[in-house]
């Protein structure tokens, strides 16, 4: 069975890639994911705000109260070097590359292009095979219109692309007014892949404490419908590779995404829930399903159920919405 696929110019042995998650923080786990069959690994994200915050916090807390009182000119021993933000991350990539034989994809999370260029170069120098940009931006300021927001993505991408040679993937939010247009623009701007979609963690309320609290719920297979639709729609319309990254829990989910047109499927929640061995099981299930259904290769099925290739292209459009609502059974 030929499971190989090509993603952002990289040839991968299969289409299952663990997406950015805490799992990649540990070299042992990275090795285990490779051993279980992962074809590439997207590293956990280097957060721009975190880097700035860490550096400011370290400086603040190491110097708070210093040079104020004659007996305690300082409160901490002098350290000549700190492993801060990118240093630690870059070293981690370097070690991960040395420890594995599969592509390692760096991940940058933030909004400002300026701060990224330096990190992007360093990630490339650390040996990463590709870079995923995660523009995690919630446009709360009403003075920025849709075009301005889109422009942030495009400018970020162009700057990074002009700074490094390794392929660049854009991890996207599903909340663009015109996803197709945005995808086309990113494609034209040089994106090597689009990763669909980012799951924004939505805050929750704690009614006992009257506080807004962060909440982290793992995805379900059902959430894969959104990327499924857009991958199916965009398939063959853009040059960039496509990765499906929400709701990939089983080989069935993988198959659907591949048939919609994804080049790779990215798994996170399922691995956090079931553990790293789930990779091996899913790949085995995938292969068994393909064997049973007499598929020869991933390439063969890729995009086979995209909007262009299905009998009813309108199924991906509004008409499908009406149909879905009408078919809903109301339980009294």
């Amino acid at each position: 069975m030929d499971l190989t696929t090509t993603y952002m110019g990289l040839t991968l042995k299969n289409p299952l890639v663990p997406s950015a998650s805490p799992l990649s923080k540990d070299i042992g786990t990275i090795k285990a994911m490779e051993d279980a069959g992962a074809s590439a690994i997207v590293m956990y994200s280097l957060f721009e705000e975190q880097i700035t915050h860490d550096q400011k916090a370290l400086d603040h807390f190491l110097t708070a109260g210093a040079e104020s009182f004659a007996e305690a000119i300082s409160y901490f021993p002098v350290q000549t070097d700190y492993n801060l933000g990118p240093d630690e991350y870059l070293e981690h990539i370097h070690i991960a590359k040395a420890a594995t034989d599969i592509p390692i994809i760096g991940s940058l999370n933030g909004v400002s292009a300026g701060g990224w260029i330096d990190y992007a170069r360093k990630i490339e120098q650390a040996g990463a095979d590709g870079l995923e940009l995660n523009v995690y931006y919630i446009p709360t300021d009403g003075k920025y219109d849709a075009a301005a927001i889109e422009n942030i993505y495009l400018e970020d991408l162009k700057l990074i692309k002009s700074s490094i040679k390794i392929p660049v993937a854009m991890k996207l939010s599903p909340f663009f007014s015109s996803m197709s247009s945005m995808a086309a623009k990113l494609d034209a701007a040089g994106a090597d892949a689009l990763v669909m979609f980012n799951r924004f963690y939505q805050p929750d309320f704690d009614l006992d404490k009257l506080e807004v609290v962060p909440s982290l719920n793992l995805s379900t297979s059902a959430e894969g419908r959104l990327p499924l639709r857009w991958i199916a729609i965009l398939y063959s319309h853009i040059k960039a590779s496509m990765a499906a990254t929400t709701g990939v829990h089983t080989h069935i989910d993988m198959l659907k995404m591949l048939m919609a047109g994804a080049d790779v499927t990215m798994m996170c929640s399922a691995l956090l829930h079931h553990g790293v061995p789930h990779i091996r099981k899913t790949l085995a299930d995938l292969e068994a399903w393909m064997t049973e259904h007499e598929y020869e290769s991933v390439k063969q099925m890729k995009g086979s159920m995209s909007q262009r290739n299905v009998a009813e292209p309108a199924a991906f459009e509004r008409a499908n919405y009406m149909k879905a609502l009408q078919s809903w059974k109301i339980t009294v």
Binding site: I51, T52, D54, Q55, K56, A57, L58, D59, H60, F61, L62, T63, A64, G65, A66, E67, S68, F69, A70, E71, A72, I73, S74, Y75, F76, P77, V78, Q79, T80, D81, Y82, N83, L84, G85, E88, D118, L210, E211
Partner: protein, 1197 residues
């Protein structure tokens, strides 16, 4: 000679540099002002810096200076080149070992930043009291007077000790030299290797104990031989001075800097000379240069080698022309015939006179004087005053200079206007807040000027005695010639005020010279700023024809992400205005320095500072000065006219910075000061203070409970007391059942609050319409200062609640009690003071406190004021600090007195039964004083008793009258930090706990030496970074509670207010109630943890949740009742060690500096936590089973 690097460092670093290069072992214990030497050594070894023999010295921290000197002795005796750094009381603790080391002719150098000794008061500042107290030990004493000398003579001492076998104490003045930043020439490794030949090192090693060549050293000797043995060392001491001189000569060949045992400086035919050692000699040198240029025949002998005292070399240094000599000692020996140097000089002269050979025509007229105690200023004017005194026919002997002694009339007058500073020396003064980074920026400026220009440069920094809102003053000098001005600037060309609020409080322009430049950080614009200045400031600007520059530094800081730190902005202004360097070059140098300073902390910080520097010049402007004064603003009075006489007369001068002007007669003779004085300071340091919202408040009392500064208070009172309340005074109905119909108020002391925000953080109530608001909310202080001042005054006038009616074992109830510890200068948001305050609320009216030296003794007892207060009846805690190491024993002594005097009073009562009546005596003897009501009643009985006794004319009645107050219960509290309880005072603490006496020990456990700047203690947690544990502490925290519990008779509690305030309260109440020794180990968050102090109570909560500080109580009284005495009060760990440690810089920084080690220690810490929880929960079960068995036995019985 090789080219040597010019560096700009302080005296401590200079000494440590040589010590680290020329030793193999360093054993230390932190003490101000020498701590930095050990810290430098530790930091260098931590990064692998090698000594001149290519090995990294071992640096260890001991549990006390006694321990450090023992370790030094051992390392020396086994052949290592070994050193230590200490001062003051620390040096005194080393005396026993110093005798041993000297008696055994062991080569070593102790480096001492000389400091005052604790007498009528502790002082951290510099004089020679400590080194003079060890002159009899047999150590050689070598004095340095400047930073360059300190580096040079550290090496000369090392060479001389190896040559002579006499151990050396190399000293320099604490703070004045130890902390003065100066441009000096750095010694080369080749210099050190040349001075320390291998054969001397080898000889030292060969004297080391080894089983390969076994010897016996340290015998006990009898009258037949001890004396002779003691005299065997004489030839070594006789040879030593020449060896030192030889080392000095060799050093001169290497470096070009010639020292002598006694350096003569001045006119070759001087008729008057001063003899002096230490930094005062530099000031004298500067003065001599000035006076001899004026034609005066004056000179000075600068003493380097004080012991062994070489009469030959001293006499050789005296010019034949000398007629009069003033010997200046920086120490005091009450009752002596004169101070040590004076006595030695007289002895040397007299011996020489006896044997013949005095170079002078007859015996010179010699007088002695004291100067500079506790870093008291010693200026050229004072030097001149001494020379002027010597001109007199009958100059005053045993004089003092630098103070006004209107009691013994010892002091000489001096002219404050006299100055020797040439115009070629630039002199700048910078006033800043500790928090704004002024000092660090000025240290940086000195380095830039010192190392990037041809100028000589000097920086000296004056700090506050307060830890919150502290003011710093930086004194910077630089010029083309070496700077010898070892005194503060009094006439500056440049004065910068980095905080506009200082204009209201301090007369900063009194020190600026005419035509000087004044730089102000102000929120006001070019057009507004003039009219915001106080009248006096305007007048000084006009009269002195100053140039006046201003900038809104805080706006620039805010805009560039610098927060409160205006330091780089003001530094840039300084360079731009002063023109020391071309503007572009100055900015480039500042940026280079920023990169060097912050590079390790990340590029974002570097960039942020760069942006601030670039943004500064656009906002800097010069103010056009009007011809006339326009302001009506006056400087605020220092204290209220309602303050007691002593506060108005003495304390206010100290607060205002005029303490130097107070004469001797103003001071108590025995170090006894009034309490309840912090209330008069009105420091106004908070930018924001909490505001009470009665509609949201649930009246839980937590805000007052956690307030570190006792500035948020609660009262319940009858409605009638609201009469005359200011319109803005807030009040609401009290919700509890115990005071039906009463009113309830929370009031903030607006001028005392530090704005820490701990109260707001802990407040559990939320406004239902706007959940960001709580029952108290931070609001800007200035707009409501006047209003809240009136409200506070009104609040204070509302009667305190009757303590007998208060449920003291509830949070709400305890906070109705008046704090008798208020407005301390502890760090804003301090984690210790809430515990101290709570004790004062519960028992303050009957408490006597022994306080170990440390943070709590500084915020508790550092002049000008004390937070220890009094209730409306004039009762309150009586407080004293003895030393660091003896605090448990000191408090134990209190209890011995109380117990003895109580016993005696009871005996006298019985003896006087016929006079007093049986009922009266029985009531007094049988009084139950376990409650507030019981104590109240007993006080009334004792008051009646005293009336009766006064009317009984019998000797017994007089005896009883003088001790009758002991019939009322007294509570002894022994307080201190973990450095005291776990380390230096542990032996004494253990003994006191084992005594069975009724003392209460409160350990304020910050898990680090906080007061001296974050050194590791045995309370430090595994994995935490501290000084002397830069790589993370590898060993777990000592479990002091379990050790104490092992006696079975000691009440033990571990508490953490942020986790459980009620458990804390109960533990303190139970401990005090227990009729035996009690110890409470109170977890205290600290600025040395690297945390957000406003959320310190959350850190207290989280450390307990992680299991790293489990809470429990062990009450032996319960065991006696057959109940389970042990209760594990904290739940099973609910968060991981890493979850907690990631929130504190002391742990998280290790993940940045050494991630692998951090991970390893985190695993060990988690294992330790798991094990500890298993142990404690098992202990609780075991005790419960034991208690059940006891109950069963009782039933059977």
């Amino acid at each position: 000679m090789s080219e040597r690097k010019k560096i700009t460092i302080d005296g401590n670093e200079a000494a440590a540099f040589v010590a680290h290069k020329t030793n193999e072992v360093c054993a230390i214990y932190p003490i101000t002002p020498s701590s930095n030497m050990g810290e430098w050594a530790d930091a260098w070894s931590a990064v692998g810096r090698k000594n001149i023999w290519n090995t990294v010295p071992t640096v260890v921290e001991l549990q006390s200076e006694g321990g450090a000197s023992g370790a030094v002795h051992g390392a020396l005796q086994s052949g290592s080149l070994t050193t230590t750094f200490t001062a003051s009381q620390g040096l005194l603790l080393m005396i026993p070992n110093m005798y041993k080391i000297a008696g055994e002719l062991t080569s070593t150098v102790f480096h001492v930043s000389a400091r005052s000794l604790a007498c009528q008061a502790l002082s951290i500042f510099g004089d020679h009291s400590d080194v003079m107290a060890v002159r009899q030990t047999g150590f050689a004493l070598l004095a340095s007077s400047s930073v360059q000398e300190t580096m040079d003579q550290a090496l000369i001492a090392q060479a001389a000790t190896l040559q002579s076998r006499v151990p050396f104490l190399h000293f320099f003045d604490g703070f004045r030299t130890s902390h003065e930043v100066m441009k000096i020439e750095e010694l080369l490794d080749s210099d050190m290797l040349a001075m320390l030949p291998h054969e001397l090192i080898d000889a030292h090693r060969k004297r080391g104990l080894t089983p390969d060549k076994p010897v016996l050293r340290g015998t006990a000797q009898n009258p037949d031989v001890y004396f002779q043995g003691r005299e065997t060392v004489n030839p070594f001491y006789e040879a030593c001075p020449d060896m030192v001189q030889k080392a000095m000569d060799h050093f001169a060949q290497l470096t070009g800097r010639q020292y002598n045992l006694f350096d003569y400086i001045g006119h070759p035919e001087a008729d008057r000379i001063i003899i002096i050692m230490g930094s005062g000699a530099d000031t004298a040198t500067e003065t001599i240069d000035y006076l001899t240029a004026q034609g005066e025949k004056v000179g000075m002998i600068k003493v380097h080698l004080f012991r062994p005292f070489s009469v030959k070399h001293f006499i050789g240094a005296i010019p034949a022309s000398v007629k009069k000599i003033a010997v200046l000692d920086r120490t005091k020996e009450p009752g002596s015939a004169g101070e040590p140097l004076y006595q030695d000089i007289l002895t040397a002269l007299a011996e020489t006179m006896t044997t013949g050979g005095l170079p002078t025509a007859g015996f010179p007229h010699v007088i002695g004087g004291r100067y500079g105690l506790s870093s008291k200023e010693f200026t050229p004017s004072m030097v001149k005053a001494v020379y002027d005194e010597l001109k007199k026919d009958n100059p005053k002997n045993h004089f003092t200079i630098g103070i006004h002694d209107d009691v013994s009339h010892s002091s000489l007058e001096w002219d404050p206007a006299f100055s020797t500073e040439p115009d070629s020396v630039f002199r700048g003064m910078f006033y800043g807040l500790g928090a704004d980074g002024t000092v660090s920026a000025n240290k940086d400026s000195i380095k830039i000027i010192g190392e990037k220009t041809d100028n000589y440069a000097q920086g000296y920094f004056v700090y506050d005695s307060k830890k919150s809102g502290s003011i710093t003053t930086s004194h910077l000098r630089f010029g083309p010639k070496p700077i010898r001005s070892a005194y503060l600037i009094t006439s500056a060309q440049f004065v910068a005020c980095h905080q506009a609020v200082f204009l209201e409080k301090y007369d900063m322009l009194r020190s600026i010279m005419p035509g000087g430049t004044f730089l102000l950080n102000t929120p006001y614009s070019r057009d507004e700023v003039w009219n915001t200045l106080p009248r006096k400031v305007q007048k000084q600007i006009i009269d002195k024809k100053l140039r006046f520059f201003a900038i809104d530094g805080n706006k620039v800081a805010e805009a560039t992400g610098m927060g409160q730190r205006v330091n780089r902005i003001m530094q840039t202004c300084f360079f731009a205005i002063s023109g020391i360097l071309p503007k572009e070059e100055a900015i480039e140098k500042i940026k280079t320095s920023i990169k060097k300073t912050y590079g390790a902390k990340g590029d974002k910080i570097v960039q942020m500072n760069y942006v601030a520097v670039d943004a500064t010049l656009e906002d800097l402007f010069e103010v056009t000065i009007p011809a006339t004064v326009t302001s009506t603003l006056e400087l605020a009075p220092t204290v209220s006219t309602n303050a007691p006489a002593f506060v108005q007369d003495v304390t206010s001068s100290i607060i205002a910075g005029y303490g130097d002007d107070l004469p001797v007669s103003k001071f108590p003779v025995d170090g006894t000061y009034p309490t309840a004085t912090a209330q008069w300071e009105k420091r106004n340091i908070a930018l924001e203070i909490p505001e009470f919202d009665p509609n949201t408040c649930i009246q839980c009392g937590k805000c007052a409970m956690v307030c570190p500064h006792a500035t948020i208070r609660i009262k319940v009172y009858e409605e009638q007391h609201l009469e005359g309340a200011p319109a803005t005074f807030k009040s609401c109905d009290y919700k509890g059942r115990e005071y039906p119909g009463w009113k309830y108020s929370i009031q903030v002391a607006p001028e005392e609050c530090t704005g820490c925000g701990v109260c707001v953080d802990i407040c559990p109530a939320k406004n239902k319409s706007e959940v960001r608001l709580k029952a108290i909310n931070m609001v800007p202080q200035p707009p409501i200062r006047e209003q809240e001042r009136a409200n506070w005054d009104f609040f204070l006038g509302i009667p305190e609640v009757d303590r007998r009616t208060v449920k003291v074992d509830t949070i709400k109830g305890s906070q109705f009690l008046q704090p008798l510890f208020e407005f301390s200068g502890a760090c804003s948001g301090c984690g210790e003071t809430p515990y101290v305050k709570l004790v004062s609320q519960l028992f303050g009216d009957r408490t006597i406190i022994a306080n170990a030296t440390g943070c709590s003794s500084i915020y508790g007892g550092n002049l000008p004021t004390t937070p220890w207060a009094q209730d409306p009846n004039g009762r309150g805690p009586a407080w004293s600090n003895s030393l660091f190491e003896d605090n448990a024993e000191f408090g134990y002594g209190f209890r011995l007195t109380i117990d003895k005097q109580t016993e005696a009073a009871r005996e006298l009562l019985v003896a006087m039964t016929d006079d007093l009546g049986g009922d009266t005596v029985r009531a007094l003897l049988d009084a139950d004083q376990s409650t507030e009501a019981g104590i109240f009643d007993q006080r009334a009985r004792v008051a009646d008793l005293k009336v009766k006794l006064a009317s009984i004319a019998k000797p017994l009645s007089q005896q009883l009258l003088s001790i009758a107050d002991f019939l009322v219960k007294k509570s002894v509290w022994i307080m201190g930090g973990d450095g005291w309880a776990y380390d230096i005072g542990y032996g004494g603490l253990d003994h006191v706990l084992a005594s069975g006496r009724n003392v209460n020990v409160l350990v304020l456990d910050t898990e680090v030496y906080s007061n001296t700047g974050g050194q590791m203690s045995k309370a430090t947690q595994i994995g935490a970074v501290a000084k002397f544990a830069a790589g993370g502490k590898p060993i777990a925290k000592k479990d002091l509670g379990l050790i104490a519990m092992s006696y079975g008779s000691v009440y033990v509690a571990a508490v953490s207010m942020g986790y459980s305030d009620i458990q804390t309260l109960r533990a303190i109440v139970e401990a005090e109630a227990y009729d035996g020794p009690s110890i409470i180990i109170a977890y205290s968050h600290c600025i040395a943890h690297g945390i957000d102090m406003a959320r310190g109570m959350q850190n207290q909560k989280h450390i307990v949740e992680s299991g790293m500080f489990p809470l429990y109580r062990y009450n032996p009284a319960l065991a006696l009742e057959g109940k389970n005495p042990f209760k594990l009060d904290s739940k099973a760990p609910s968060i991981s060690v890493k979850d907690f440690t990631s929130t504190e810089t002391r742990f998280s920084m290790l993940f940045k500096s050494n991630p692998a080690e951090a991970e390893k220690l985190a695993v060990l810490a988690q294992e330790h936590v798991n094990q500890k929880y298993r142990y404690l929960s098992g202990l609780e079960k075991m005790f419960a089973e034991g208690a059940a068995a006891t109950d069963a036995l009782k039933v059977l019985a």
